[in-house]
């Protein structure tokens, strides 16, 4: 009975300490992040700080293709439509600081409202003043046509890995999955000021909630960062977050399974050792 009392006091003290160094400390240290997420209502898939789309204007994919060929393909390739990139990735990276994305699948990854605003003014929509893409001066009709075209050619059912590489792979590497960014680290460092972090275990370092909020509005969580807002839609964001979680912690299932087995084994051991203790201590006291 007395030993039980000691045990209870011990457990309470340990729990107080644990509460202090884990939940309490984290809530205080991450307060600014929580506040930023709350203030900007992240993730904001409506991109509510941007101008609304002119829904009265109907986009036409066929006209869109013509517009794209006129304005975009001098920098961008479109594999899905057999339009090759005008430069090889290395030359392109050295010319622009980063490889201009292939336009094939962006229609499925990006939010259309974001895309509309991005085509109007890339620097403003991406919140990245140094961005290499200039405003092309397209009118609303042309932009709506381009969006309709991009949506018509995009692959709808990309898996997590494809989505991640398409959306992030021009700057970010995933070393442990043997994927290396299109532009070399040196080139990226010149363009962005630092080498963007590798994605191999970033989900363990940052956590899913942070990643989702950060990708959605980088400047809100890390003011001054060279990460542009890329304008991913909800589906793509979730796919990418899930994939990053999977590759960062591939042992999740095994851990639960083995863990339960080990704990059950220890429970049996507790029973056996208790029985032996009872037997040995009979008559002592």
């Amino acid at each position: 009975m007395k030993e039980l009392k000691i045990l209870i006091v011990m457990i309470i003290l340990v729990l107080i300490g644990y509460w202090g160094i884990e939940p309490l400390a984290h809530s205080i240290m991450h307060k600014h992040i929580e506040e930023a997420i709350h203030k900007n209502n992240l993730p904001d898939y409506e991109y509510s700080d941007l101008e609304p789309m002119p829904h009265s204007i109907k986009g036409d994919a066929k006209r869109g293709k013509e517009t794209v060929q006129m304005f975009c393909t001098s920098c961008h390739g479109i594999k899905a439509d057999n339009i090759p990139a005008p430069m090889d990735p290395k030359t392109a990276a050295e010319s622009y600081g980063v490889v201009p994305p292939d336009l094939s699948n962006l229609g499925a990854l990006l939010d259309e409202k974001f895309l509309y605003n991005f085509l109007k003014d890339p620097a403003k929509a991406s919140e990245f003043p140094k961005i290499s893409m200039p405003a092309m001066g397209l009118d609303d009709q042309q932009i709506m046509d381009v969006i309709a075209y991009m949506k018509s050619i995009a692959k709808k059912d990309m898996d997590g890995k494809e989505a991640t590489i398409e959306a992030c792979g021009r700057c970010h590497s995933i070393k442990y999955q043997k994927f290396y960014s299109d532009a070399s680290p040196d080139v990226l460092k010149k363009y962005l000021g630092k080498v963007p972090p590798d994605f191999s275990v970033i989900h363990r370092a940052k956590g899913g909630e942070y990643i989702v909020a950060f990708v959605n509005k980088p400047q809100a969580l890390l003011p001054g960062t060279s990460m542009p807002r890329v304008g991913l839609n909800k589906e793509a964001t979730e796919k990418i977050e899930h994939y990053l979680g999977e590759i960062a912690d591939p042992n999740k299932e095994a851990r639960t399974k083995i863990g339960i087995g080990v704990l059950l084994y220890m429970l049996v051991m507790i029973g056996l050792t208790y029985a032996w203790k009872k037997k040995m201590w009979k008559g002592i006291h």
């Binding site: 045990l7 300490g17 032996w276 037997k279 002592i284």
Partner: protein, 401 residues
């Protein structure tokens, strides 16, 4: 003729190594008092955790690369993803290192409360203190090895502290790091210390610690002294009676331990440490592992003077060594010392408060709380001579036994 018979009755090993005599001295005829509770099991628990750390450490050693360019990947890719069950060994090693200190702190607190450091057990206390310091050094050097952001910046910050030592400080820091900043040379030497020198010293001092306990015997709840004969008559043998209970305590402990290993390991594996070390980018918050937080908070507690903080930090660790000479009360066990009891519980709560404050940003209210809790930490040790004096007077006047 007689001699021959004696020889016959002994086993081969016995004749040469006297193993059965050793067994008797160390185990079957080493008697413990009956009035001890399960807190006396924590000594053997530290041994258990140490063995777990050595075994898991050896397996990690087979794949770990002590090189600044390879260390992070060898831990996070090779061990965590490629080697079959490598992740279990890393989890066990990381959680084990953390839990070692929980067990050590409880073991030490038991010693303080029941007066186990008092004559004739000073050597037990001193060797125990050395083990604590060695364990801290092992944990500190080991924490650098994964070469993550927190590894790097914790090592950078703590080694910088030595800069303040008069005359030799700045040179000492460079000598320790092998470079002007924490770099590859630092990693390699920390590795050498972590896997060879420090564990070796721990094993040697543990042997002395246990030998000393066998000589002076275990203390007990009431702090009563018993002769060998009294113990033999009224006590229990270490083997098998005490160990029968110990195995039960171990099983319960291991249930808790493996729960942490598989389901709640984040406290021992900081998320920030999953970012590779980058000497150009300081993390927003730098803090040591939880077991150093209390001492770290004493360092920060004197926020108005860095020098004072450093002196306090050094004293806060080493004052523990001098307990046998600070607390000279003739009454051994805290169980029979009402004044001491009050101070002891204030100390325990203060230690927890220091640990919690150690992780929080040292600004505003937290800075002042840090100062107050640091002062209370020292107040406990300084109150001991006074309490001892009062109690000695009480005993001399025959008021208490």
């Amino acid at each position: 003729m007689e001699r021959k018979e004696e020889v016959k009755s002994k086993s081969w090993l016995d004749q040469r190594l006297a193993v059965s005599d050793l067994w008797k001295v160390m185990m079957s005829e080493y008697y413990l008092p009956k009035n001890i509770n399960f807190l006396w099991s924590f000594g053997v628990l530290t041994m258990l955790v140490f063995v777990i750390l050595v075994i898991s450490g050896i397996f990690l050693l087979m794949y770990y690369k002590p090189d600044a360019n390879m260390a992070f990947d060898s831990v996070n890719k090779t061990i965590m993803m490629d080697v079959a069950y490598g992740w279990i060994f890393r989890h066990v090693h990381a959680v084990g290192a953390s839990i070692m200190f929980l067990v050590l702190f409880i073991h030490m607190a038991r010693g303080i409360y029941y007066g186990s450091f008092k004559p004739p057990r000073e050597i037990v206390w001193i060797t125990g203190f050395l083990l604590f310091v060695l364990m801290a050094a092992t944990a500190f050097t080991g924490y650098l090895l994964p070469w993550g952001q927190m590894s790097y910046w914790a090592a950078q910050t703590i080694t910088t502290l030595f800069e303040k030592i008069p005359f030799i400080g700045p040179d000492l820091v460079i000598w320790m790091r092998g470079n002007y900043i924490v770099e590859d040379a630092t990693l390699t030497r920390f590795f050498a210390l972590h896997v060879v020198l420090l564990p070796l010293l721990i094993i040697v001092i543990t042997a002395v610690h246990m030998y000393a306990v066998r000589i002076v015997g275990s203390n007990n709840e009431d702090g009563t002294t018993m002769t060998k004969e009294e113990k033999k008559e009224k006590g229990i043998p270490f083997w098998p009676v005490f160990m029968a209970k110990e195995y039960f305590v171990m099983s319960v402990f291991l249930l808790f331990f493996f729960y942490l290993v598989f389901f709640n390991y984040k406290f021992a594996m900081d998320p920030i440490n999953f970012e590779p070390a980058n000497y150009l980018q300081t993390p927003l918050h730098i803090y040591p592992e939880w077991y150093f937080l209390a001492f770290y908070e004493v360092l920060r507690g004197f926020f108005f003077s860095e020098t004072l903080g450093l002196i306090a930090f050094a004293i806060s660790m080493f004052i523990i060594l001098f307990l046998p000479w600070l607390d000279t009360s003739p009454i051994v066990s805290g169980k029979h010392r009402p004044l001491f009891k009050i101070m002891f519980w204030i100390f325990v709560l203060d230690f927890i408060a220091l640990t919690i404050l150690g992780k929080l940003p040292p600004s505003g209210l937290f800075a002042w709380l840090g100062l107050v809790t640091s002062l209370i930490y020292f107040a406990f040790f300084l109150s001991l001579p006074i309490i001892s004096m009062i109690e000695r007077k009480q005993v001399e006047s025959g008021g208490r036994q």
